[in-house]
Amino acid sequence: MTNPLILKLEQRDSLSDAEKRALENAIARIRIVEADEDIVREGDRPNESCLLLDGFAARYKIVSNGRRQISALQIAGDFIDLHSFLLKTMDHGVLALTTCRIATVPHATLEKITAEFPHLTRMLWLDTLIDGAIHREWLTAMGRLSATAHMAQLICELFLRLKAVGRIEGDTIYLPITQAELGDTLGLSTVHVNRVLQELRKEGMIRFQGDALTILDWERLKSVGEFNHTYLSLQNEDR
């Protein structure tokens, strides 16, 4: 199966065979991290970065009263802590929400890629820029959208991101995330998470069955969530 990072990057620009080979060969080993375990901890100084091949993970911080805020959801193809290559010390942790299959890429290999592959380097740069764009969108939603709109936006975003790495089945995504975890992501109580999901369901926009979430009315969901996919930079062009 194609490395999902390659799928993700190729959505945005073509990669040469040499670039794809460089990415494939960059993988030093495969790690399995079980659900609820840390992939990388706040304060760590890793000498390798983790590329998520399968599963869901969350960037998070814990505040002094023990409450957790999830600041990003990571899916297959996300280079979870590419940041640590340059930031050195992790300012947040990354937690596996489900069993995660992870490819580790030594920082020394990343350094070699930046020296030998300028276009691939720009593509990895683009990847972290998109992470930043998603953060901006989440911050705006958190501060200014209603809980229902915020949830709708998150579902739209996850659908397109999963689609970009071939992880959807028709209009259905598999989202093995608990309502408590969604609450920590959206800054809502579990009660509110449940209410907004019920509202979206009652309005006929989504249907969920276990972990499977089906989008029934994309246009309406998009409109409720004020979702505009520009920030995901999904179009293929020279970069």
């Binding site: 505040v63 002094s64 009263n65 409450r67 608990t178 309502q179 408590a180 609450g183 800054g187 109580s189 579990t190 009660v191 509110h192 998470v193 449940n194 209410r195 907004v196 019920q198 509202e199």
Partner: protein
């Protein structure tokens, strides 16, 4: 010790009519609790029905308590309110 009184009041919350209680401290409204079913808390840590802090004011406001609690009984809700009032503005 503050005088805490309860006043039943239905609340039109998301999802429709909920049984509710206004909680007043010395005659001032500090919190509105609604009864939520186990279905509404499903997936959370609570996994049971209870009294949910629908709205809070001053020391009971959501700015102070980042995640509104679901409490098993009204007595627990009153204890929670007393605790918030005692702590004032420190979380």
């Amino acid at each position: 010790m503050r005088d805490i009184t309860l006043q039943p009041m239905p609340v039109l919350a998301d999802g429709g009519r909920h049984e509710g209680q206004l909680i007043l401290a010395d005659g001032q409204l500090v919190a509105v609790f609604t009864w939520v079913t186990s279905e509404e808390t499903a997936g959370g840590d609570e996994r049971a029905g209870g009294w949910f802090l629908e709205a809070g004011f001053g020391p009971c406001s959501s700015l102070i308590s980042a995640t509104p609690p679901v409490l098993a009984t009204l007595n627990d809700a009153v204890s929670w309110v007393r605790d918030r009032l005692d702590h004032g503005l420190t979380p």
